[in-house]
C-alpha cells in the first residue's frame, strides 16, 4: 500500500490546481490585511491598556475609561474606541513587541522614561501635529516636560500623582507620637511602634521586585539626591549612601515586615498591624478601604524636609506604526481637557496632571487626598535625567545592590560602588555608540 502511494504520480492537473489554490489563499489573506480599520463609516481607534475590569485592576480606572469612551464616541460619532485589555504583568513586553514589529495599536499608556527611550529608538510619533500639545505643555505639571525630546512632544503625562505617607492615626496617637517630618523622626517613631512579629513601624519593600527600586528611590530623593542626573551617576554620593543606610536600618532592626510583598503589607495596614507606609492615592480606591477603616487612616507628605517623592505619572503615546493617529490625538485632547482631568480624579480617584484639576471641593470630601495635592508639584521621575536609555539597567543594578546590603551583610557603600561602576560603564558605552 505504502509503495503504491509512494509511487503514485502527481498529475500536471493536480499540481496546477494546488498552485492555484495556494495563490488564491495568498491573495485573500493579503486583501484581508489591507482592509481599512473601519466599522461601516467609523474609524476604529485601538487603545491598549491594562486598566479594564477583566485585568483585575481597581474599579475606578476601568469605570473612568468606560465613561470616557462613551462620552468621546458621542462627541465624535465617526470614531469607535476599541479597548484592548492586557494584564499588567504582560503589558510592558507586549507594548514593546507590538511597537517594534509595526503591529501596533493606535494608543498606549506608557511609563515616562520609556517614552524618551522609545522616541530615541524611533518608535513613536511626535504629537505636535496630532493634539494640542501647546496647551498641554503649558498647563500640565512640570513632569510633562520630560516628554519633550529635541523640541517635540512624544508623550502626554495625563496621569499625575505622587507617593505620600499613609499612617495609622490610632497607633500614633496611642504612643503619643506626632506625624514625623524627617527621616530620623520617622525611624525613631517607627522603632518605638514596632512589636516583633506583631506590629511594624514602617513598611519598606524588601523582595526583589520592580517596586523595590521605586521604594529605595523615595528615600534617595528624600535625602536630596537621586541615582544620577544629567548623565552622571551619583549612586555613591553621601546623601544617597545615607538614605540607603537608613533603609537598611529599617530592615535590619525588624521595623519593617521583611520579605512581605507590597499587597500583603497593605492588608496588614488595613488590619492595623502597620503604623506607617509610603503609598500612592490608588490605595484608597481599594474596596477594602471602608469608611470605618478610613477613619483610622491619615495621610501626610513624606517625612522629608524637601517634600519630594517619586511621581506615579503615566503618559499616552502614539506609535509610529499606528494606523489612526488623528483619532488617537483627538482622544488625548479629550482626556486632557480640564473637565475630563477632574473626572479622572473623581472616578478613578487618581490625580490627573493638569494644574487646577484638583478642586478644593474634592479635598473637602476626601481629606486624605490633600497630601497628594500638596505633593504633586514636587514629584520627580524615578528615572534620573540622562538615564532614559539605560533606566532598566539602573533599576536592576540598584535592586541587586539592595539585595546585597540588606541580606548579604555587604556594606551599603560597597554595594553602591558596584552600581556606580556598572552605570558609569553603561553610560560610557552609550556615549561611545553616540
Amino acid at each position: 500500500m505504502a509503495d503504491r502511494i509512494g509511487k503514485r504520480r502527481v498529475t500536471r492537473r493536480e499540481v496546477l490546481v494546488g498552485l492555484g489554490a495556494a495563490a488564491a489563499a495568498g491573495v485573500l489573506a493579503k486583501a484581508r490585511r489591507a482592509a481599512p480599520a473601519v466599522v461601516g463609516a467609523k474609524t476604529k481607534l485601538i487603545y491598549s491598556n491594562y486598566e479594564q475590569k477583566q485585568t483585575g485592576v481597581i474599579a475606578g480606572l476601568s469605570n473612568y475609561w468606560d465613561l470616557a469612551k462613551e462620552a468621546f464616541e458621542k462627541k465624535y460619532p465617526d470614531i469607535e474606541i476599541v479597548q484592548v485589555s492586557v494584564p499588567s504583568s504582560e503589558y510592558w513586553n507586549k507594548l514593546f513587541t507590538e511597537i517594534t514589529t509595526g503591529n501596533a495599536a493606535d494608543l498606549y499608556k506608557d511609563r515616562l522614561s520609556e517614552v524618551v527611550q522609545f522616541t530615541r529608538m524611533g518608535l513613536l510619533s511626535p504629537l505636535d501635529e496630532l493634539c494640542n500639545v501647546k496647551d498641554i505643555n503649558a498647563n500640565f505639571e512640570d513632569i510633562q516636560k520630560t516628554q519633550i525630546v529635541d523640541g517635540k512632544t512624544y508623550g502626554v503625562a495625563y496621569q499625575g500623582g505622587s507617593h505620600q505617607l499613609v499612617y495609622n492615626k490610632n497607633l500614633l496617637a496611642k504612643g503619643g507620637f506626632k506625624v514625623p517630618t524627617t527621616p530620623e523622626e520617622a525611624y525613631e517613631t517607627a522603632k518605638k511602634l514596632t512589636k516583633p512579629g506583631e506590629q511594624w513601624g514602617f513598611v519598606v519593600v524588601t523582595p526583589s521586585v520592580p517596586q523595590l527600586y521605586i521604594d529605595l528611590t523615595q528615600w534617595v530623593v528624600g535625602y536630596n539626591s537621586h541615582w544620577g542626573g544629567n548623565g552622571k551617576v551619583t549612586a555613591t554620593a553621601d546623601a544617597t549612601v545615607a538614605a540607603m543606610e537608613m533603609y537598611k536600618r529599617l530592615v535590619a532592626e525588624g521595623i519593617t515586615p521583611v520579605g512581605t510583598p507590597k499587597p500583603q503589607t497593605r492588608e496588614m495596614f488595613v488590619a492595623g498591624k502597620i503604623a506607617m507606609m509610603i503609598e500612592g492615592p490608588w490605595f484608597f480606591a481599594d474596596p477594602k478601604i471602608t469608611p470605618e477603616r478610613l477613619a483610622f487612616m491619615g495621610t501626610a507628605t513624606l517625612p522629608w524636609a524637601n517634600k519630594r517623592s517619586v511621581s506615579s505619572a503615566s503618559a499616552f503615546i502614539i506609535p509610529k506604526a499606528a494606523k489612526n493617529k488623528e483619532a488617537a490625538g483627538k482622544f488625548i485632547d479629550f482626556c486632557c481637557s480640564l473637565e475630563w482631568q477632574i473626572k479622572f480624579l473623581e472616578v478613578a480617584k487618581l490625580p490627573g496632571n493638569r494644574k487646577g484639576a484638583f478642586p478644593r471641593s474634592f479635598i473637602d470630601k476626601f481629606p486624605f487626598m490633600a497630601a497628594y495635592d500638596e505633593g504633586a508639584p514636587k514629584a520627580v521621575d524615578s528615572c534620573p535625567s540622562g538615564f532614559e536609555d539605560v533606566f532598566k539597567q539602573l533599576q536592576k543594578y540598584v535592586i541587586d545592590a539592595a539585595g546585597e546590603f540588606m541580606f548579604k551583610n555587604v556594606p551599603v557603600k560597597k554595594a553602591l560602588e558596584t552600581v556606580q561602576a556598572q552605570m558609569e560603564k553603561e553610560l560610557e558605552a552609550g556615549r561611545k555608540k553616540a
Binding site: I5, G6, K7, R8, R9, V10, T11, R12, V15, N93, F96, T100, Q117, R120, M121, G122, G197, T206, P207, S208, V209, P257, V258, G259, T260, P261, Q264, M268, D389, V390, K392, Q393, K396, I399, D400, A401, A402, G403, E404, M406, F407, K408, A429, G430, K433, A434
Partner: protein, 307 residues
C-alpha cells in the same frame, strides 16, 4: 531526486516524471521546522556577531565579530549566572532522579490503593509551570506561607524563615519547587523501566547467589540504565534552560542569587534590549546543551550499541 522509468505512451515532461508525492508530504513539516526552528537559530547566531542594541541602535547593526562573546566572558555576572545554572541543574536532576527512583520503587510494590497513588502522582506534572511557581511562592511566603507554618509546628524553627529574600535560601527554595514539579515524570519513566525488567533475571541472579544489594546493582540499575540515561539527559537539558519557575518565584533575585543564564538572556533581551549580547548568551547555552547531549551519547548510547 527520484524519477520513474519511462512508461510506453507516457507523454509527461521530465519535471512531471519525478515522484513528487513523498517530497510534497514532507514539505509542510520542513517549512514549519525551517520557520520556527532553523531560521530563528540562524538569526540568533548571526545576531550574536552583530551590534544589535535596540535601546541605543547603531545604523546597519554592524558586524563586530566575537565582541559580544568577549564582553560576556569579561563580565562577572556571566560567571555568577553560569554557577547558579549549574547548581540549579545538578540539584534538580539529582533530586528528581533519586527521588523518582525511590517513589517508582514504592509504586512498583503491591499495596492497596496503588492505582490511586499512581494517578495522584501525576498531578504536579499536569500543573502549568506558571501556576507551580505561584503556588510555591505562596507556600514559601515569609508571613503566611505553609512551609514556615509547618516548620514551626514541627519545632524545627523558632521564627519564620525568609525564604525568598535571603540570598542563601532563595535558590534552594526554587530548586525544591522545580524538583517537586519534575518528580512525577521521572517516577513514571523509571516505573516503566522497572516494569520492563523481567522477573526471571532476578530469579537467575538469586540462584547464582547474588545478595539483595548485588541484585539491585546488577539487575535493577543495569536494567534501568537506558531509561535512566534518557531521563538524565532530558532533565539536564530542561533544567539548564529552565526559566518559568525561577522568574515566577524570584525574578533572578535577591542579589542575583537565582539568576540563571536563561533569566540573564531575558533581562538582556527584553529589559535592556541588548539583543546582540543576549543572542551570544543564547548561543553559549545552545553549545552547552549540545555538549551535554554528546556526553550523554558517549556515556549511555555508545556502550549500549557496542554491547
Amino acid at each position: 531526486m527520484q524519477t520513474v522509468e519511462s512508461v510506453p505512451g507516457d507523454r509527461r515532461s521530465g519535471l512531471f516524471r519525478i515522484q513528487w508525492f513523498p517530497y510534497l508530504t514532507i514539505l509542510p513539516v520542513l517549512a514549519v521546522l525551517t520557520t520556527i526552528l532553523i531560521y530563528p537559530l540562524i538569526q540568533v547566531l548571526v545576531m550574536s556577531f552583530r551590534a544589535v542594541d535596540l535601546g541605543r541602535p547603531i545604523p546597519g547593526e554592524p558586524f563586530i565579530g566575537l565582541a559580544n562573546y568577549a564582553e560576556m566572558l569579561r563580565r562577572p555576572q556571566f560567571w555568577q549566572s553560569l554557577w547558579v545554572t549549574v547548581i540549579y541543574t545538578l540539584s534538580v536532576v539529582v533530586l528528581t532522579c533519586v527521588g523518582g527512583l525511590v517513589v517508582a520503587q514504592l509504586l512498583n510494590a503491591r499495596f492497596h490503593g496503588r492505582a490511586l497513588a499512581r494517578a495522584l502522582l501525576i498531578l504536579p506534572w499536569a500543573l502549568p509551570p506558571v501556576v507551580t511557581g505561584l503556588v510555591w511562592s505562596w507556600m514559601f511566603d515569609f508571613q503566611f506561607g505553609v512551609v514556615n507554618y509547618a516548620l514551626r509546628l514541627l519545632h524545627l524553627v523558632d521564627k519564620n524563615v525568609n525564604w525568598m529574600v535571603n540570598p542563601d535560601l532563595a535558590l534552594p527554595a526554587v530548586i525544591v519547587a522545580t524538583a517537586w514539579k519534575h518528580l512525577p515524570l521521572a517516577t513514571i519513566i523509571l516505573l516503566a523501566g522497572l516494569q520492563s525488567i523481567s522477573g526471571e533475571l532476578y530469579e537467575a541472579a538469586h540462584i547464582d547467589g547474588a545478595n539483595a544489594l548485588q541484585r539491585y546493582r546488577y539487575v535493577t540499575l543495569a536494567g534501568l540504565r537506558p531509561v535512566l540515561g534518557l531521563l538524565l539527559l532530558l532533565e539536564t537539558l530542561w533544567n539548564f534552560k529552565s526559566f518559568t519557575y525561577i522568574y515566577m518565584m524570584t525574578g533572578g533575585g535577591p542579589a542575583r542569587s537565582t539568576e540563571s543564564l536563561v533569566v540573564s538572556v531575558y533581562y538582556e533581551a527584553f529589559q535592556f534590549y541588548k539583543f546582540g549580547y543576549a543572542a551570544a548568551l543564547g548561543t553559549i547555552i545552545l553549545l552547552i546543551c549540545v555538549a551535554i547531549t554528546l556526553v550523554y551519547l558517549r556515556v549511555f548510547i555508545a556502550p549500549a550499541e557496542k554491547s
